[in-house]
């Protein structure tokens, strides 16, 4: 009987098994190739600029297509400043929203709000950008920026901080738009993270008489600590790489921003604005080098985020 099974001819179509597995493996490898391709093409494309300017590329601020002198410090600082400002504004609100939805919100309301938040996370960035340009910027210039500039005491730090052309297109409004954009995304992921906390853990804390604040502060947040940092990094990664919304509203000025209300640029916005109109070989190379810098920064941030979230998933 066993012999009969062992000597039975292989099933029809079994010859295709290794081919199918090979095709699947090939597709998985294509993914790696795509990522490797991004790095390699950016490195090759940006190499002329990097080798020509050397370290000066990262620390100088002149960006002049006429004299062919390029320094990336302006966009690098602009990217970091807008992203961290956006994170600082979005993080407390996102945490508040997700905690409210998981812990306090009446059940019939929690589900629709959560779905709405997730849907809003999918709205394309160009929509946020247009809103920023046509609605937020004029409002901000008239009702926030001008009064602040007028009332800043001369010679104080506020005067320096609020200096700028009052048209609403500046570092601060760009950060604000970024914050609004990453807010639903972060809130949605935070909510999923909080839902992974086992009910027993939460209930035992309530059982010894903790208030909800103490349950969240001493039990829930420590429980998801690693993952929460991962979510923050994911939000930061989004803000760092966001292109269209920022391009609309940051003012697109090269060089270091001199104040909170000064126009500036980010790595992504500079590439988006100038790449198709790049005049010389060196201009294109410098823009590609900006892309490489952006890749290195975001890859680092996203890799840390994923490592932290992975650990959470398997704990």
């Amino acid at each position: 009987m066993t012999d009969a099974i062992l000597t039975r001819p292989a099933s029809r179509g079994a010859w295709f098994d290794p081919i199918f597995e090979g095709a699947c493996l090939f597709a998985a490898t294509l993914l790696l190739a795509a990522l490797a391709g991004v790095v390699i093409s950016l490195a090759i494309g940006g190499w002329p600029a990097l080798s020509h300017f050397g370290l000066k590329f990262f620390v100088t601020t002149s960006w002049n297509p006429v004299t062919e002198v390029y320094g990336a410090a302006g966009p690098i600082i602009g990217t970091l400043v807008t992203s961290f400002l956006a994170l600082a504004m979005a993080l407390p609100v996102a945490l508040g929203v997700s905690i409210f939805l998981v812990e306090f919100c009446p059940k019939p309301l929690a589900r629709p709000i959560a779905v709405a938040v997730e849907l809003l996370a999918g709205i394309p960035s160009i929509v946020y950008g247009m809103w920023g340009l046509f609605v937020l910027a004029p409002f901000f210039a008239e009702h926030v920026q001008l009064p602040l500039m007028m009332n800043a005491p001369a010679g104080s730090i506020w005067e320096t901080l609020f200096y700028g052309v009052p048209n609403g297109a500046n570092i601060f409004t760009a950060s604000l738009i970024l914050a609004i954009m990453i807010l639903p995304y972060m809130a949605a992921v935070f909510r999923e993270l909080f839902l992974t906390v086992p009910p027993q853990v939460r209930e035992s804390a309530y059982g010894i008489g903790c208030t909800p604040l103490e349950v969240i502060g001493s039990v829930v947040l420590p429980y998801v600590r690693g993952g929460a940092i991962g979510v923050v990094m994911l939000g930061l990664g989004r803000a760092l790489g966001e292109t269209m919304a920022v391009t609309f509203i940051i003012g697109n000025a090269h060089g270091l921003p001199k104040s909170l209300f000064d126009s500036g640029s980010t790595l992504a916005s500079t590439v988006a604005n100038e790449f198709t109109e790049a005049t010389g070989v060196m201009h294109t190379a410098a823009l590609t080098a900006l892309g490489l810098v952006l890749f290195v920064i975001t890859f680092g941030v996203l890799a840390i985020a994923r490592l932290l979230l992975l650990r959470q998933r398997y704990d």
């Binding site: 493996l25 597709a27 993914l31 409210f100 999918g122 394309p124 639903p184 208030t211 890859f299």
Partner: protein
């Protein structure tokens, strides 16, 4: 002297209020954005949008060429992305997901999932546009496909892992070759979930602007040839919103509303399908 329990209760009340306020604040801000989008966009939404091409400033026009270009590029991108993504996800779920290489692939796929889309545009520029000496709708589709593949891969793996092993064992017990089991049983059982993954990926790429700027570029005219520069809705919105002409800006708002509505609709359809799947006995 306030007693400790009172203090704790007070701190807690403040905290709950702060969380509620944050929610109200967030929903108000986002609702305000949608409201002004509808208010500004709905005036421009007429039959011309779908029947006329992008106009010169001052003349009547619509967004037909942009809508068509977007649909063509997204369709081609999805065809490529679904092919690669479903196979890659299948490999992760059914074959090598537990191997060290599988962990590397999954990790880098997660990174790609959130990578800045403009970098994909730069990559495709070097990969397709520069060697072929020209912007093309085809290059745009490749860029969009690269953005969709990680989404499809991720959802495919997740949904295939949900299929019970009993199904795989049943297939094996009948002597069915593994690929037939996967194709006839696993994929079929996961059909709704796979469809949702595809829809989510489609929603993600249909609003992407940055990767199209220097791959598909733009085109003022109706164009069915993807080897030429091709207009897309997001690129036209970008160009028109930053222009100085009122009628172009009106079209940009209408286009933005159109994109936001379609993305919302696709996402909702995807969710409905996923919800129906999970309630299936």
């Amino acid at each position: 002297m306030v007693s400790r329990p009172t203090l704790r209760a007070l701190a807690n009340t403040l905290f709950v209020a702060a969380c509620g306020l944050a929610t109200i604040l967030a929903l108000t801000a986002l609702g305000f954005i949608l409201l002004s989008l509808v208010k500004q966009g709905v005036g421009g939404l007429d039959a011309n949008i779908f029947t006329k091409d992008t106009p010169a400033p001052g003349s009547v026009g619509g967004l037909r060429n942009a809508i068509e270009g977007s649909l063509m590029m997204c369709a081609l991108a999805m065809a490529m992305a679904v092919g690669v993504g479903v196979l890659a996800g299948t490999w992760l779920a059914e074959y090598g997901g537990a191997s060290p290489y599988g962990h590397v692939v999954r990790f880098l796929n997660d990174v790609l999932l959130a990578a800045p889309s403009i970098l994909v545009g730069l990559f495709v520029y070097e990969l397709v546009v520069r060697p072929l000496h020209g912007f093309s709708g085809f290059a745009g589709a490749v860029a969009l496909a690269l953005l969709a593949v990680p989404v499809v891969t991720r959802t495919t793996e997740d949904i295939l892992r949900l299929q019970p092993d009993a199904l795989r064992e049943a297939g094996a017990a009948l002597g069915t070759p593994r690929w037939v089991t996967i194709r006839q049983i696993i994929w079929r059982g996961a059909g709704g979930g796979l469809l949702t993954g595809g829809l989510l990926a489609f929603a993600r790429i249909s609003g992407e602007t940055a990767p199209l700027l220097f791959t598909a570029l733009n085109n003022q005219f109706l164009n069915h040839d993807l080897s030429k520069p091709t207009a897309s809705l997001p690129a036209v919105i970008f160009q028109y919103a930053l222009s100085a002409y009122d009628d172009w800006r009106r079209l940009a708002w209408a286009g933005a509303l159109l994109i936001a509505l379609s993305v919302l609709a696709i996402n909702i359809i995807g969710r409905v399908i996923a919800a129906r799947e999970s309630h299936r006995p």
